[in-house]
C-alpha cells in the first residue's frame, strides 16, 4: 500500500508540474518597468546583519547576562535576524523577476547568468537559515536547560553557503545586470539591497 501511495504521489507531482508549466506558458508575462525596481526592494541593514552574526557579540552577551536574560536577548536577536533573512529572500526574488523580464529568454548576457546564480545561492541560504531559526524559536530546548542557547554566529553558514558573501555577490550581480538604470536609481538599488 505504501508503494502505491508513493508511486501515486510521484505521478501526481509530475502531473502538477506539467500543469504548472502549461500555466506559465499560457500566462502573459507582466511588463516590469525597470525604474520601479527600487520601490519593490526592502532595505537590508548590513551593519545590523554583521553585528548579529558577530561571535564576539554572542560571547559578550553570554558573559554579561544571566542565563535567563541572555536567552531573552538571544531570542530577540533571532527574531531580528529572521526579519533580515525574509527581506534578503524577498529582494532576491524581485531581482530575479526583473532580471527575467529585462533580459528575456534568448541570448542572455553573462551578467544575467551571474544574477541567476547569485539568486539561487541567496534563496538556498535564507531558506535553510530560516528553517533553523524557526526550529530554534519553536522548540526552545534551551528553556529546559537541555541544550545551551544557540549562537547566532552559527548561522553565518547554512547549506555550506556563507550568507553574507552570497548576499554581497547578489549586490554585485544586480549592479552589473541593472547598469542601464539611471545613476540615481542604481545608487538607490545598491543602497536598498
Amino acid at each position: 500500500m505504501f508503494l502505491a501511495i508513493s508511486t501515486w504521489v510521484i505521478v501526481t507531482s509530475g502531473v502538477l508540474a506539467l500543469l504548472y508549466i502549461l500555466r506559465c506558458a499560457c500566462a502573459r508575462t507582466p511588463k516590469f518597468n525597470l525604474n520601479d525596481l527600487v520601490h519593490f526592494l526592502y532595505p537590508v541593514d548590513l551593519s545590523l546583519l554583521d553585528s548579529l552574526l558577530d561571535p564576539a557579540a554572542d560571547f559578550a552577551l553570554r558573559w554579561s547576562l544571566n542565563p535567563r536574560a541572555f536567552r531573552r536577548e538571544q531570542r530577540r536577536r533571532m527574531r531580528l535576524y529572521r526579519e533580515l533573512l525574509r527581506r534578503m529572500a524577498h529582494n532576491s526574488i524581485i531581482l530575479a523577476d526583473f532580471g527575467n523580464a529585462l533580459f528575456g529568454e534568448d541570448e542572455r548576457p553573462a551578467c544575467a547568468c551571474e544574477l541567476e546564480g547569485a539568486v539561487i545561492k541567496v534563496r538556498l541560504y535564507t531558506g535553510f537559515a530560516r528553517l533553523r531559526l524557526r526550529l530554534w524559536l519553536l522548540l526552545s530546548l534551551d528553556a529546559l536547560g537541555v541544550v545551551p542557547t544557540p549562537q547566532l554566529a552559527n548561522l553565518r553558514k547554512a547549506a555550506d553557503l556563507d550568507g553574507r558573501k552570497a548576499y554581497d555577490e547578489l549586490k554585485i550581480a544586480a549592479a552589473a545586470a541593472f547598469a542601464r538604470l539611471q545613476p540615481a536609481e542604481l545608487d538607490a538599488l545598491t543602497r536598498n539591497l
Binding site: I10, V15, C24, A96, D106, A110, A175, A176
Partner: protein
C-alpha cells in the same frame, strides 16, 4: 495507415536531431544529443528487424536498456546545468545519486509487489532499471519545476525543456505500469497508444525548446567583475560631485 502511426516518434526524433545539429546543441548538451542520436538509430534498427522475431526480440531489449542508460545520463547533465551555481557545495553532488537511489528502491519494491511478466534475469534487470529511471525522471522534473517559483528561475530554458519531455513521458509510463499491473493486459492496445502519444508529445516539447536559440555568454572572471564595479562606483561618485 495505422501501421505508419507507430513511426511518428521516429520521424519526430529525426526532426529533433536536425534541430539539435542546426543549433549546435551537441556542444551544450552532448549527453542529450547522444540520447536523441541513439533513439534515431535504435528505432530505425527496430523498424528494419521488425519482420524477424528473434533478432527483433534482442534488439528491442538491448535498445530499451540503452534508452534507460542514456536517459539517466541526460538527466544528470540537465541537473548539472541547473545547479551550476552551487556546484562547489558538497551536498549538490549528492542530489542526483540520491534521486537515482530513490528510483532504484521504488523499482525494486515494485518488482517485489508486482513482478513484471518477463523471462530471464537480464530482461528483469532491464525492466527494473527502466522503471527506476522513470521514477528519477519524474522526480527531477517535479523538482526543477519547483525551482521556478522558489528561486525565480526562467521556465523557458533548455534544461527545463529536456526535463519536461522526460517527465511527461515517464509520468505516463509510470501510470501505465501501475494500471497494467492492476487491470492486466486487457487494455494493452490502449496503453500502447497512450505511450506513443506521450513520447511524441515529449519529442515535440524538445523540438519547441530547442527551436529558440539560447546562447549564454561565458561568465566573466571575478577580477573583471570587481574592476567593472569599481569603475561604476567611481562614475557614480563623479556624477554626484557634478550636481
Amino acid at each position: 495507415m495505422s501501421d505508419l502511426v507507430w513511426y511518428i516518434p521516429l520521424a519526430l526524433l529525426l526532426l529533433l536531431l536536425c534541430v539539435l545539429v542546426r543549433g549546435h546543441s551537441y556542444r551544450t548538451f552532448p549527453c542529450f544529443f547522444a540520447y536523441v542520436a541513439f533513439g534515431v538509430a535504435a528505432d530505425s534498427t527496430r523498424l528494419v528487424t521488425q519482420s524477424h522475431p528473434k533478432p527483433y526480440f534482442w534488439i528491442y531489449w538491448i535498445t530499451d536498456a540503452g534508452y534507460a542508460l542514456l536517459g539517466a545520463v541526460a538527466l544528470q547533465e540537465v541537473l548539472r546545468k541547473v545547479l551550476r551555481g552551487v556546484r562547489g557545495m558538497w551536498w549538490a553532488r549528492l542530489i542526483f545519486p540520491a534521486i537515482l537511489a530513490a528510483g532504484v528502491v521504488l523499482s525494486f519494491w515494485h518488482l517485489h509487489e508486482a513482478p513484471p511478466q518477463v523471462q530471464g534475469r537480464l530482461l528483469l534487470a532491464i525492466v527494473t532499471g527502466e522503471i527506476a529511471v522513470r521514477f528519477a525522471q519524474v522526480l527531477v522534473f517535479a523538482g526543477m519545476v519547483a525551482f521556478v517559483p522558489l528561486f525565480g528561475l526562467r521556465w523557458r530554458q533548455q534544461p527545463l525543456g529536456i526535463a519536461m519531455g522526460f517527465g511527461l513521458y515517464s509520468t505516463v509510463a509510470l501510470l501505465i505500469t501501475l494500471k497494467l499491473s492492476d487491470f492486466g493486459t486487457r487494455f494493452k492496445f490502449l496503453w500502447g497508444v497512450a505511450s506513443l502519444v506521450a513520447y511524441s508529445l515529449a519529442v515535440l516539447i524538445w523540438i519547441w525548446f530547442f527551436s529558440f536559440p539560447q546562447k549564454e555568454e561565458p561568465a566573466p572572471n571575478p577580477e573583471q567583475v570587481a574592476f567593472a564595479l569599481d569603475t561604476l562606483n567611481r562614475y557614480l561618485e563623479w556624477l554626484r560631485r557634478m550636481r
